[in-house]
Symmetry: C2
């Protein structure tokens, strides 16, 4: 094809997308291989969106422990394995055993996919981690569209899992498949690890990583995860730190059965009154956690760190508007970022066993379980936090002199993670971002938790890069989760550019004196 | 039939039931008409249980505002109308219009049944009120059997609505149908009013009663309600007072969508933290309501009243055991009864909009609604209580300086009710209890609320009798609700005996000088 003609077609498409408000113009379209890759991605974007639609249609909810949803998870893993085989990868679907629920029931854990494509010893080997499970979603919880039918409105692709994490996983696959479609040699060897239990705490994954340390992971040079969001609607970011998470349940039990509030109201230590007092003693109105000692191990703030926060380009007004929040707890950019990234936070998620439906039921719940979690930062320790929380709740409960039984349990304990931002892949990612988006990335942290980052770092001791694609307002875990078509398609290009950059840096490394 | 032979058969059956542990022997079996009535009821008890099974099978849940359940309610009302027609009653199925839900949706309200059987001006006219709707029930909430399949275990008939209120309604019908089957003249004229919205606050009923005051209700002398429980497992009771109820919702909203606790935890006034603080400020660990002024209008305790509490035969140990409660808030019988009957109580029922399922979801709910209610006693006033609660919650919320929005609403306001225990029908009921159970009843109050009692008293100004059939451990509104076969069958006899007693007193009244 005449390259001039090709560029013109590409320009027309870019202009069209600009008019549609779904894309900003890159500084100048790249030439050569990368130009052909980008053009292919632009021209095939509807096919890429269609595959995302097929993946979103699978209700791969790992949170609700019910057999029907586990079957959906198995279906999802099969779909992904098939997609990887189409790329030419050799795919290993690894059985992950089963999970015992608190009630004694057993549920199968969806398999983990280990796949590889290419094993040229001269090339770098990049392993991509992704997860295919999603958070629960029901239309009646406030979705404007069916959460499992990908629906495009104004360039936004709405659907559960669209941004967390099915869209980014497919963007990676789109990048690879573009090289294959163009019959171009892949710049790097690729490995894939894909799981279906991330939202539920990546059950059984750590064991697998340990087991595969000297086999599957032995040749891996770099690990890439794309499971975060930018801090802006338009400016890309790289993530170099994430908080951990300690998830707690606190059960208060009078008896298994509920009571009628007319027949028993007035003479009982009601479990809900106890639980509300317990949960009410966890955090004050300013967001300060009331558990004694909880801030003792938080790393002190350095001057250098303070400066990094000041350098971040965050439009507070835009951030507040896109979050639809009237007022945050803090007024400055630095305070807000520090309380999201480098200080712990405590959130109360809900109560199981109480009356939770519409209408007016006059019940005294007999047994209720409160759920809350604490996001952990360096250098907090899960077992210390567990003891502090237990002691604190026991103290509050003892003061009430209630005849009920209380039981506290830490059901998840995940450590925080920090990267070295001078790693090759951080440099490669910066260059790729410059190529695709014409800008330097925001260097950010993320207040949420991806257990696998810490597991990779600790066990196989390879560099982990967090390379997000989604915009700040994507609403992962919330109603009306979406990924912008622009982010999904430009993100596919970003991964392709990243392959080339990381290959280049790898060659430079090999050729430079040790 | 030879009456001696009849008595022998009856005795044998009684002995058999005694051996089965499901019946205690009455002092002596009555002779004549009542003897034949009791014998018929004993011999046909399996048929009566079968009808209860058919009624329990209808999921007539009025609490959850969904179209499917409304259809079930309509089915239930048709079943009841058919049963009354079989007795020979003339039945009027009165359309009740529709209900507008907070979300704007409209649902039909099940019709009210007005029926009558007999209009002899020389006889007393007794109107029986019953409701055919039930509280929600799902097996996964802790039912040992399917809640909508009546299941008999050790003489206990388990099923939603078995005791509240389908069993007692059918016991009344059983009593009437026995007179019909024996081709005996009914001692009284009978009227029936049956509704399907009691658990949801008897919507539209007050208006109907007002409308029918000078027509359907004009000839009514007495009204009987059997929608309470005894205070013992074996000793019958009469109820002369009930608490009212003010049901509140308090919504705290940041935005409609939920948040991810990693991405937003630490910088928000989280709605759950606000709500837990609001609910935690309502009642202390000793059950004392913290709303200022709430006890101001509670009637002072008189010496006479104190003595009535002392006279009640309550085995605290048995009561505690059958309730499966480790310890009550109070140690004496008098304190416990007073806090159930003559003092207000506040119960927190649950939270709508938070995470309420099994598992671990890391969500910050964006909008949550707490639900609680206050049981009212003489001489508390719903509109005063409404203002006191609003003011109190507004005060707590203002102290938190939260950027969220709070909205308080009293969704139900039902006044307490007290009867005159020297009324003819209380005397008739006492005699009938003596005949069937060989004992005096406990004279009790009930801490729960039956709106219609107050409505009848205020609007048509006729005497209301509360004549309960169920045992203290029936678990109305809770999981594993049941009615004992013994209570159901002896209760049917009790109603038959009551017809004769009330007819006798009525004749005496008419013959005595004014």
């Amino acid at each position: 094809m005449d390259p001039t003609l090709g560029n013109m077609a590409s320009c027309q498409l870019a202009l069209l997308l600009l008019l549609l408000g779904s894309m900003s113009a890159p500084s100048s379209p790249p030439a050569g291989l990368l130009g052909r890759v980008f053009q292919y991605i632009d021209l095939h974007q509807d096919e890429f969106v269609q595959t995302l639609r097929e993946w979103v249609a699978v209700e791969s909810d790992s949170i609700q422990p019910v057999p029907r949803l586990r079957e959906e998870l198995f279906t999802m893993m099969s779909l992904a394995a098939e997609e990887l085989r189409r790329l030419g990868a050799s795919v290993d679907v690894v059985d992950s055993g089963s999970q015992k629920l608190p009630g004694g029931q057993t549920l199968p854990i969806p398999p983990v996919i280990l796949a590889e494509l290419g094993n040229d010893p001269k090339k770098a080997t990049v392993c991509f981690y992704g997860h295919l499970d999603v958070q629960p979603a029901r239309q009646e919880d406030g979705w404007l569209t069916d959460p499992y039918t990908l629906t495009e409105v104004d360039g936004k692709l709405y659907g559960r899992g669209a941004t967390d994490n099915k869209g980014p996983v497919l963007a990676w696959i789109n990048a690879v498949s573009t090289f294959r479609a163009l019959e171009e040699d892949l710049p790097v060897n690729l490995k894939f690890i894909m799981e279906g239990m991330e939202e539920a705490g990546s059950l059984a994954l750590e064991e697998l990583v340990r087991r595969e340390k000297n086999r599957f992971f032995s040749s891996v040079d770099y690990i890439v995860i794309s499971d975060n969001l930018w801090i802006s609607q338009r400016k890309p970011a790289l993530v170099y730190g994430m908080r951990g998470n300690s998830y707690f349940t606190v059960e208060v039990k009078c008896r298994d059965q509920d009571f009628h509030s007319g027949t028993f109201g007035g003479i009982l230590n009601e479990p809900m009154a106890d639980l509300v007092a317990l949960l009410g003693g966890l955090v004050d109105a300013s967001g300060h956690i009331l558990v004694p000692g909880i801030y003792d191990h938080v790393a002190p703030l350095t001057e250098e760190e303070q400066k990094m926060y000041e350098a971040i380009d965050l439009d507070l007004e835009e951030y507040r508007n896109s979050s639809q929040v009237k007022r945050f707890l803090f007024d400055t950019k630095e305070e807000i970022l520090m309380h999201l990234w480098r200080y712990p936070s405590l959130s109360i998620h809900g109560i199981e066993g109480a009356f939770d439906e519409p209408g007016a039921k006059t019940v005294i719940p007999g047994r209720v379980t409160g759920k809350f979690s604490i996001r952990l930062v360096p250098h907090m320790n899960t077992s210390v936090v567990e003891k502090q929380v237990e002691r604190h709740l026991e103290y509050i409960f003892s003061k009430r002199n209630s005849s009920n039984k209380m039981a506290v349990s830490m059901t998840l304990g995940l450590l925080p993670w920090t990267a070295n931002i001078t790693d090759n892949q951080y440099l490669a990612a910066k260059k790729a971002i410059k190529t695709v988006f014409g800008t330097e990335p925001d260097m950010i942290q993320d207040g949420s938790t991806i257990p696998i980052a810490r597991i990779f770092q600790d066990i196989i001791q390879k560099s982990v890069l967090m390379l997000p694609l989604g915009a700040v307002d994507d609403g992962e875990h919330a109603q009306n989760e979406k990924i912008n078509r622009w982010n999904y398609i430009e993100g596919s290009k970003l991964f392709a550019a990243f392959f080339l950059e990381v290959a280049q840096l790898h060659i430079n490394d090999r050729n430079s004196p040790a």
